[in-house]
Amino acid sequence: MIVLIVTFAACAISYVVDKKKTIAGIQAGLKMFLQVLPSVFVLIWLTSTLIYLLPEGVIAHYLGREAGFSGYLLAALFGTIALIPGFIAYPLAGVLLKNGVSIQVIAMFLSTLFMVGVPSIQLEARYYGWRIAITRNLVYLVGAIVTGTFISLMI
């Protein structure tokens, strides 16, 4: 909602200052949007299917049961393949915590979830090319695992 208001205000101010520039800017923006729209749809579809196949209960079941090293590994794996928006990820983490998943495992899950996105690689590759997209995901995966480990040790 705030985003829409800000966008509208920005357009209005811009229009008052320079009509031509504003229209050109909006057109360029919408063109970019249309270019990625099919990829975004695929992504949302993938995410929807994935969340359907792996509901909270299932994730909690596996992460809660597997203690120790394999629990971390599984958390990193789930985090890597899943793509869950933040406003769903935090409540999900809350559910996991209530279901007995340790906060250390949740830390690993969240840091890999945020930094790596396998379902979005196809979209990422359109911006940076496949090689860099894959490199980035691998490097950030290592970073996320190190981060998750540090958080687990400190908490």
Partner: protein
């Protein structure tokens, strides 16, 4: 139109497959297909279909109004740690999924951002989300948030320096998509 089709061929085919699958689920009364559509796909896409066009319009406007020289001076190659901080600050105030950051890096790159700042932006964008801080604290506690932020900040810096070194040989470029 034809060019659009060629560029998005794979995605368009996948979208068609999904539409087909959903239509079939309704015809054959498949519970799974219907549930994926109504309880997951609809709410997710509604969110995105409002947010994404707005974001791209802002990108388009910033593109026409903000000069390259200015951005380059602030966050370009040879900019100081202040540039790094600026990029992180810009990123942490946004709270979308990671893929919404890619078009913004295109804008930053076009305006002359350094390679390191591009990856710093991606790192900060994906990990620290101030608009969702209330969520994090509510569900996981302030201690968790604090430790996570303190550990994550230096890590995204390290990761972006590594990426900068790695992509140097691959002539890095951010395309319009």
């Amino acid at each position: 139109m034809y060019k659009y089709y060629i560029r998005n061929k794979t995605s368009l085919f996948l979208v068609a497959g999904f539409v087909g699958f959903t239509a079939m689920s309704y015809l054959l009364d498949l519970k799974s297909g219907k549930q994926i559509f109504t309880t997951r796909f609809i709410p997710f896409s509604r969110e995105m279909l409002f947010f994404l066009p707005a974001m791209f319009i802002i990108i388009g406007l910033v593109d026409t109004w903000v000069s390259k020289e200015k951005v380059q001076m602030l966050i370009g190659e040879g900019s100081s740690i202040r540039g790094n901080l600026l990029v992180v600050l810009l990123a942490v105030f946004q709270a979308g999924p990671l893929y919404t950051a890619f078009p913004i890096t295109y804008l930053l790159w076009k305006k002359g951002s350094s390679v390191r700042n591009i990856f710093l932006y991606l790192g900060a964008f994906s990990t620290i989300k101030l608009p969702l801080l209330v969520f994090e604290v509510t569900f996981l506690g302030w201690k968790f948030s604090l430790i996570r932020t303190l550990v994550t900040l230096p890590m995204i810096f390290v990761v972006s320096v590594i990426m900068e070194k790695l992509v140097r040989k691959q002539n890095f470029n951010v395309r319009k998509a």
